[in-house]
Amino acid sequence: MEGQIVQLKGRKERSEKAEGSGLVSISRRRFLQALGASTAVGAAACASPAQQEILPYVKPDPEQIPGVATWYSSTCTECSANCGIRVRTREGRAVKVEGNPNSPVNRGSLCALGQSSLQSLYDPDRIRTPLKRKASTPTGPQFEPVGWDEVLSKIGDALTKATNKKMLITGELTSGYSDLVEGFTSQLGFSHVVWDPIQPVAVAQAAKMTFGTYGVPTFAIDKAQVVVNFGADFLETWVNPVGYARQWSDSRRSDHPLRLVHVEPRLSLTGANADLWLKAAPGSETSIVLFLIKEMLARGRGEELSGDIRAKLKALTAEVDADKAEHLTGVSKEKILLVAEYLASAPSSLVLAGGTASATADPLPLLVAVNFLNIVLGNVGKTVNIAQMKQPASSAKNLAGAIDEMQKGKVDVLFVYGTNPAFTFPDSFGFDHAVNQVGVYGEGSGKGAGLVVALASHLDETAQLADYILPVNTNLEDWGYATTPGGAISLIQPSMRPIFDTRSAGDVLLSVASSAGKSISGDLKTFDAFVKSNFLKATAGKASGNVDKFWITSLEKGGYFPEAQAAASSLSGGVDAAAYSLNFKGKAHTTHGDELVLYPFPSVKSFDGRAANRPWMQELPDPITQAVWGAWAEVHSKTAKRLGLAHGDALILRTDDGEVHVPVYVSDYVHEEIVAVPLGQGHSAYGRYAKSAGQGSVYSLLPKQLAKDVDTLPLLGVHVHAIRGLGDGGLVVTQEFSSQMGRDLAKTTLLSAAGAAATHAASSHGEGHGSYGAHEGGGHGEHGEVKQMYVQREHPLYQWGMTIDLAACTGCSACVVACYAENNIPVVGKKIVSQGREMSWIRIERYYDSLPTESGGEELKVSFLPMMCQHCQNAPCEPVCPVYATYHNEEGMNAMVYNRCVGTRYCSNNCSYKVRRFNWFHYEWPELLDWQVNPDVTKRTVGVMEKCTFCVQRIAEAKDIAKDLGRSVEDGEITPACVQTCPTQAITFGNLKDPKSRVSKLAKNERAYKVLDHHLNTQPSISYLEDIRYKA
């Protein structure tokens, strides 16, 4: 894969040298040849470059000033949360995606997946023109380019000829598209199937059973004092990760932080941030929930409920007790009682369930029990808002039914848009085979009567099955709108013109409809007109004054965002009687021999598979495992020992339906019975990066089975054979160690139950520190006159500094991807990362520590520590640079001048934080990905050191604007990319010289400390605020 993105200059010479047994063995002739070659290369580099052209616009664009960025508001459609975004464009090209502060969903932040949507737009493997299937060869189907008109007329023919069913399969659509598709399907007689593998459909169905309405409630995590969570990974991928992460961090930083208990079989990102993480056997959590219901009822909670409900719940939970729950889940009785104690004593609480933990073959009992527990605790209407619900439309049953019909030849025309069932629906259902049966028994029998059309941007597994592929715009080139449960309507507008001969999928559907003589929405011919008219209809009466002006200002703001309404929801609908008669007993997994329970989980790196062809996401280390490029299989160390597996070994996971090859990742933080593998890797199509990362998709392991009573695909519960493969599995992780070695890198403050009194805890295995100096200030500063070896710096106007609140940092890695996007950081590929030469300027270090508990035991504490250049005042890198390429400037920044750097790497050697990155090779961006390159940041070349610059280009821009206004830069005007995107606003940047700035106040916070400063007296400009944890 790295061959695609990296040009290794001089690699050939290097490998030739490596063939010999060393330098000594090189003959004189060889040496001279090599010398000659390198001289030639050197001369070529010095030779005069070709004349450079400078091309003006033909016509001036009123929205563009060359060199000045233009921003467009839009909406992210990477997941169904629909965060508001603002797209930064330069000279007509989108170069950066940021959160829209106006949007109530994400309030200005964006996750890693949203940041990477640019690489979907600039995917080098995008479909560039309409394609027609030519032939199928052993290497895959062959396509040839055709014109739009040909395909559209072909579609018109097929539609008139079609005698059987016409079908449209889509992903979970934004409201704009679902409104359009609704009209399209009803007008043209299509049947509509929605398929999205990780939509929380089961949660919505459980809500229908207990609350009377189908939908995923909105949760007020920040209003709860205790949150007990059964597998809902709301900080990484679940429902609304950015919004919930912000709520979580708001509460964690308040005077009364919430206490989070997380129960699940595999340590997820949310579990890593929990105060108490409990490892439960897969599919066994229901017993804990039932016990909690029983305990709460016994303690007098739920008095206000009707006697009927209470009687039924008492009957339901009569048989459970803590011992049984311990036996089933493996969670100790004391812990279960502790959770009960937390819930009983909390003034407000919230119980959540979702994610893979609930994606079993029978998920309803757990989810319904959790709803019961929320009802008993009186959370409905307080922290569970059932007035504002999101209704997922995805349906596994419908898709399975559609496949069945296709196989029977009952479908003549199939359209697919925005979903990839050939990858995300198990092969055992035979989607790919079924597609070949489309139109088989139609008019003029035999293949050819039917038509399979994919409306796709990327040549994924499903598009490859199509007869015709219509290239459609990605979200950043398209129109649309998305409604959120809170009543906001977020608009989607193109931030740039389509790069290729692509059209909006909406326009395609409209033109198909109009050529068939049908009209979807009056005389509206284009999708943007449709969007505008529907938006204005939905906001009728809200506009003050001119409608067109309202439309323009709405586009500018990003949509229509009404004031948040208070959650005025209460339990009105009765509980479905069927809810009480579910099988709450569950069944324990019994595995034999080399069998393990498969635990596929959506990772932020690949989500359900849609992010697999984005090099940033492949190179992004997974927050928990720190693994890059491709999938891995987490196995407990005991299990690994039993099966004879070692960390990094090749592993084959096999079921009757498929086989996946993944490297083993040995971890203590997964249940002994499971093997946890991220979803979405191991593509056989979709693009160069997706195809190169991994072999075999987890979906292919799943049997032909749908969940009971619920319209989902069960992900959890399949038994797989775990067989050791040959040799090395190709696992590459960027952090091989998990211990802080007593160095107090990531510190933690322990909160007592009251939440107020805080004690500082030794976070690293409870050992004493070997450091000198006082705890707070280290060996310098306010403690008195400590002799300094170096001249102390003076900062006349600005002293840029940063604080990172570890209590808010979730480790989600959005900052890492934002930094890649902003600073033109090259993606180097798996091999070079394995050599420790990754280029990321900011990394999220992850440590496993233990914290003492009230009862004298120890509990797991996972720490995340975002680490980038600390901009030390006594920087060890500076005095060792022989060419003054790195130095300290008057604004407190550790500057790096690329053109001075000669690549001695002394600075990197001397850096105490290992944050300097060296360009070992000349890295090139493949065509199209290079369109994303930020024109404000220098691309570095081979032999040059680089590191975090505090986004110096943004500082320069802010100073430029301030100078125009005749003042100095004010607080909050500079937001480096990491600060801007942070979903929890954990990072603050500003002027330390200004005592009123937020950063100076935070740097004086009692939780503030500097990493390694007390050992080394480096005086970093970055202060970390200690993490907080409740004492369990």
């Binding site: 450079q52 400078i54 003006p56 033909v58 060199g67 604004e891 500057a895």
Partner: protein, 229 residues
């Protein structure tokens, strides 16, 4: 003071060396170019002061004592694009003499973004057409050149101008800041109104920038120009 002396001294040295220099274009280029292009005399009134293309250039475009014209022509010191006197052939023989000297157009009429952004943009083709819809040229040569603009415009293609002031990728130059600080165009670009073909009057080496920054009390922090673009 030492600085000043050094400049005086180096200037003198150049005059001395210029006698031995085979490629000397000091002060005579505009005359030669004017004669070659057959441009008629400047119309009256008032006469535009013709002072030589390098008049008013900061420190005569000289970065340091050793930054001689002659050194520009050795590739060791940089590509020819970096040399003083670099005068590439342009796709259209656009004459600043006619536009600025004779017709008295303001620099910012065409280079309108110079005080708004870091780039002093090359004017859009439509800007040219704005006048040349009506102005068709006096002679055949001029007519042919103007027709080229129209062709580009009709085809919807940008004019592929050749960059004269080629700067390395690793630096940021912000036109807006300099214009707002009162630096005149001529201080870096020379007497453009006298140039038939735009040429480079300074090697624009770092020492040249730094001396001016020092003299005016502007920041000489590396990060002002380097580390970003």
């Amino acid at each position: 003071m030492v600085n000043k002396l050094r400049f005086v001294f180096s200037g003198a040295l150049i005059v001395v060396l210029a006698a031995f220099c085979p490629v000397s274009e000091r002060g005579c280029v505009s005359q030669v170019a004017l004669a070659q292009a057959g441009v008629p005399p400047v119309p009256t009134p008032p006469p535009y002061p013709t002072v030589g293309v390098r008049t008013g250039v900061y420190n005569d475009g000289q970065a340091a004592l050793w930054d001689l014209n002659i050194t520009d022509h050795f590739h060791y010191f940089g590509p020819p694009q970096r040399a003083r006197g670099y005068k590439p052939e342009q796709p259209i023989k656009f004459s600043h003499v006619i536009h600025v000297q004779q017709n008295r157009m303001e620099c910012q009429y065409c280079h309108w973004s110079v005080a708004k952004a870091s780039y002093a943009a090359i004017p859009e083709v439509e800007t040219c057409i704005g006048c040349h819809k009506l102005v068709n040229g006096k002679d055949d040569a001029a007519k042919a050149e103007i027709q080229k603009i129209k062709d580009y415009y009709d085809k919807g293609q940008p004019i592929p101008w050749v960059k004269v002031h080629v700067m390395p990728d690793y630096l940021k130059f912000n036109h807006k800041r300099h214009v707002k600080a009162g630096v005149s165009c001529q201080e870096c670009h020379g007497q453009i109104p006298e140039m038939e073909e735009v040429q480079r009057v300074s090697s624009m080496k770092m020492g040249w920038c730094i001396s001016c920054h020092r003299e005016r009390g502007a920041s000489i922090d590396c990060l002002v120009c380097h580390g970003h673009k």
